[in-house]
């Protein structure tokens, strides 16, 4: 019997794949869509339109499942994330509209280049786990963006504050637009902006990134939904798989060392970037 001709074979495979992806996505501080879209788009028989639609819901549900635990533990900050989420969600609507009409191979090449660029930026960063912020900027003081969280791996309270807030806001316009355009979550960009530009500790960056994804992808998901690019048969098992995986991943997040989280983020970024670039260039289709 040819299993590949059967709908349930692909749906079962999709569920198992997204469950594993859900565990990794939370620990890496990404929505999962950044891996889901290139891999499922390449190795499953679904058209990229439906894969991108499902990818957005994947990223959205992973972040929805992870956010309550992160917010309760103080590993995500509403004061940090809300202004950025507003900017990202607004621009993600515009990005979604563009993403549904732009040629797919161009989108893939641009995405690959962007992710590989971010990989190298993070690789060279010397203070990624606990960046040094000597003096908070005026905008962050007006918005009262600062906080305290418990670092389980070293058993100490870590105080954090931020700088370069308006520069980060400008970047979130771009991040939100790209998230909507590519039909992906944007943890791969949110984490470096929070961590390297604003100077938040890596765990706060990863946690708050989840919150921003949940808001920005909500806006973009509505555009895909009303444009006929969401297919329930493949989106639902993906969503269920990623949610179940995320519940396990969020429990592991507080226990792992920040250095391990950083390595996972780097591995995720490099793989997804190379995959997107090669696919866009038609080398690894």
């Amino acid at each position: 019997m040819d299993l590949t001709a059967l709908w349930w074979f692909w749906i079962l495979l999709l569920f198992i794949f997204t469950f594993l992806l859900g565990i990794l996505a939370v620990m890496a501080g990404v929505g999962g869509g950044v891996l889901f879209t290139p891999i499922v788009g390449s190795f499953f028989p679904f058209h990229l339109d439906f894969v991108r639609g499902a990818g957005l819901f994947i990223a959205l549900t992973a972040s929805l499942a992870a956010s309550p635990g992160l917010l309760r533990r103080g590993l995500a900050s509403l004061r940090l994330a809300m202004p950025m989420a507003l900017i990202a969600s607004t621009s993600s609507i515009a990005g979604a509209l563009v993403g549904l009409v732009i040629p797919t191979n161009i989108v893939q090449v641009l995405l690959g280049l962007a992710i590989i660029f971010i990989f190298f930026v993070m690789l060279r960063a010397k203070r990624a786990e606990f960046p040094l912020v000597e003096k908070p900027d005026k905008l962050s003081q007006v918005l009262k963006i600062s906080g305290l969280y418990y670092e389980e791996s070293s058993n100490e309270l870590v105080e954090w504050k931020v700088h370069r807030t308006w520069q980060a806001m400008v970047l979130f316009v771009l991040v939100g637009f790209m998230a909507g355009m590519f039909g992906l979550g944007a943890g791969w960009a949110n984490v470096p902006v929070f961590n390297l530009v604003m100077g938040t500790p890596l765990k706060i960056a990863a946690g708050s990134s989840m919150f921003v994804i949940s808001v920005a992808d909500t806006a973009a998901a509505f555009v895909y939904l009303t444009s006929g690019s969401v297919l329930a048969l493949i989106t639902i098992p993906s969503v269920l798989g990623i949610m179940l995986g995320s519940f396990i991943g969020v429990r592991l997040l507080a226990k792992v060392n920040p250095r391990v989280v950083r390595l996972i983020v780097l591995a995720v970024l490099l793989f997804a970037g190379v995959r997107s670039l090669l696919k866009g260039l038609g080398i690894w289709v």
Binding site: A5, W7, W8, I11, P45, F46, H47, D49, F50, F57, L60, T61, L64, A65, S67, P68, G69, L71, R72, G74, L78, R79, M82, L86, S89, I93, A96, L97, L100, V101, V142, L143, L148, Y150, N155, E156, L157, S214, V215, T218, A219, A220, F222, V223, L225, T226, S227, G228, S229, V230, L231, A232, L233, I234, T235, I236, V239, L240, M243, L244
Partner: protein
């Protein structure tokens, strides 16, 4: 060692936590009912398998699937009931933001009150169906 988490953050987390868990259960049940044939199909699975490799606008054309929010009238079919439940997931963010607005007002946190209010407006605009991408 424990850190103090702001009240609006706890409110947001509580609603989102319950909403997500309930959604998982309902979506799982509806999806099982859909794939086992308990709920009727608008598009048969054989037809979906035949068309899931084609562009979405081709899929929409060949299956006569409504776009925008017109599919809401077809929620008696498993296909669209499941789509409706996915839509509910998207609405969770709007519900959570609406819930923290009174908390921000009580704290006299004017800046974040405005941010939350504008966010709700932006998300409702996206959900309105007025913004639809053509292929």
């Amino acid at each position: 060692m424990k850190v103090e988490v702001p009240k609006e953050q706890l409110v947001y987390a509580r609603i989102l936590g319950y909403g997500t868990k309930i959604s998982i259960l309902v979506i799982a049940a509806a999806y099982i009912a859909y794939i086992t044939g308990i709920l009727p199909h608008y598009i048969e699975f054989d037809k979906i398998v035949e068309l899931w490799g084609k562009k979405s606008h081709k899929f929409v054309e060949e299956t006569n699937t409504p776009t925008g929010w017109e599919w809401i009238g077809l929620v008696m079919y498993g296909d669209f009931l499941n789509l409706l439940l996915l839509t509910f997931l998207s609405f969770l963010t709007i519900i959570c933001y609406s819930a923290i607005i009174p908390v921000l007002v009580a704290k006299k946190d004017f800046i974040y009150f405005v941010i939350a209010l504008v966010e709700v407006v932006v998300l409702l605009l996206a959900a309105s169906g007025l913004i639809v991408a053509g292929h």
